[in-house]
Symmetry: C2
Subunit: 371 residues, 2 copies
Amino acid sequence: MSAFETRRDQIYDWLAREGSAMVLFEDAEGRRDPTVRWLTGHPADALLFLTADRKSLLVPWDINMAKAYAQADIILPYSEFERRPGAAILGAAEKMKIPPGSKIEIPSVTSYPAFLNYVGTITDFDIICREHGAGETAKKLRAVKDEDEIKIYRKAAKITNEIIDHLEKNVRSGKIKTETDAALLIEIESRRRGCEGTGFGTLAAGPERSFGIHAFPAYTSAAFAGPGLSILDFGCRYGGYTTDVTLTFARDCTAAQEKLLTLTEKAYKLALSMARPGAAAKTIAASVDSLFAKSKKAMPHALGHGIGLEEHEDPAIRSRADNEWILEPGMVFTLEPGLYDQVHGGCRLENDILITEKGAEALTEGRIIRL
Amino acid sequence: MSAFETRRDQIYDWLAREGSAMVLFEDAEGRRDPTVRWLTGHPADALLFLTADRKSLLVPWDINMAKAYAQADIILPYSEFERRPGAAILGAAEKMKIPPGSKIEIPSVTSYPAFLNYVGTITDFDIICREHGAGETAKKLRAVKDEDEIKIYRKAAKITNEIIDHLEKNVRSGKIKTETDAALLIEIESRRRGCEGTGFGTLAAGPERSFGIHAFPAYTSAAFAGPGLSILDFGCRYGGYTTDVTLTFARDCTAAQEKLLTLTEKAYKLALSMARPGAAAKTIAASVDSLFAKSKKAMPHALGHGIGLEEHEDPAIRSRADNEWILEPGMVFTLEPGLYDQVHGGCRLENDILITEKGAEALTEGRIIRL
């Protein structure tokens, strides 16, 4: 049984428990949901219907792509439904012989106006759109990686670590002079090692721009790793799964800059030491907040986030009161404390952490590099 | 008066006409809305509130970024509202002294469950979420570019055309050997010319992979521009605005491949000849569909789409019955006929078209390059 079938089985079981006849997952521009890839292998741009009688129907935008990548019981091109989700839902219900009156679950991100529209036009079925539906169930399942996924992550991390070493070497030698030099080295070296590419738009910010959490533009032809603080945030996407690390390069630092660095390193070590099965993500993040507050500093973003087929997924690693995530073996997430100052610049230290039976393992070797 | 103020004025007028007290625009991960940038200059990740008494409040995720880029009457960091849209709406209503009972417009993409949640928790105001609200009004305004925007587009197109020539030269000389070589040349040359970067992930597909509408992975270390058909789809983002062109490189073609090429060129010429003020986008796209149908071919995607701050925006250039767009001066969109075959590979020819008072002008010089 393929990993895709095993995963689909979990959704079929969920459908049976919920008494729903069919569920729709949709991956489209502006509404990305890699659960479609997780369940079929199809990389992007498709509707996926799963039914209570354990059948799958994939409706891809690009039928050739589906022939090359997708595993599903039935595959029909989206053009058969004029590329309209409403028409596809009706078509799927007919094709899969869904009895009138049945419950059909649609994605929880469906907009309020679109929902009204479906309910007005699809009158033979009970259209369900809810916060804790099939999409959230799949996301929760995805938060704990299975053996296949952890194997992929070890490979992705190995490649990432090779590239980190490569970057350090080339910055030290002076071969990397600009933000673009740094960013493109990652593009080349990740693909050379079999990656699909980078996991998201690389952020390379030299000393003049590192004050931003996410530099804008993402990288430019400006100097990189000169005096002050430079940030390099990137990920390698291997087999669909992305790593996410941030290096800070520090040169000729002032006392104020050195203070940002040492505080960030201290925060990272504290967070890693607390990460283990059973730990509350909220507690770890709150401890880092307190550490920074003691030095009258504040981190303007979350301490971390799960990674996987998406660059940001569950579990959330932040101190907000409503964060209920408890760490468990198989979770893969970032820890990425950072501090940013309009005058002195910013620094961030980010690595990818795997929760194991015994504790936590940093898969990647992101670091603050003092030049 | 800045372009941002002129644009905000149009939304203030709309609010007065609609009898709404305040409107929220949101740009966030998974819910990108560059209308925030169009109205303030702030590049990404912020909430923007505009009120009927003609005041603007920007709530950015990154306050340092806002200080560097944004124009708004009041700027407050999102962290003041725990980075929760619901809390920000209540906070903005208080700050902007919105009278209880007033209408507050929220984005039409708000999910049905989130809408229920707002309505349940924000009880002092009338929360409006509708298909043809402020967001769609802004999108319609954005579909017709103003003079400032057309000036930016001419510059973006000039850079794009220089890069097209550069690509052709380097493919002919053999300097570009792989998909990655082609893609990274664009990354380097666009930034060197002052672009923010590429407008979207460059797609470079050698002969083995050009059958896909959007190649997956986007580019690899595979050979590019060898015997058969290779597709290169990219855009340059300058001052926020992206171009979008596709070149097809053809080498040692079979008769079947040559037929795909000549049909695509014929379709492009036909579409361009029909583009002028007053023309229905649907009619142009339907004419191309008919042309292809005569040769028993079908294009699996739309003929084109508007471009601007987003890679896909209004007007829609497709033959679907509900496409009501009529071309008018200032519109900028792609024409991109293409044909794809699992065996012979694919080809696409895409350029960016500006509608003028007199007719249509191709801003870019994308082409089929026979090697």
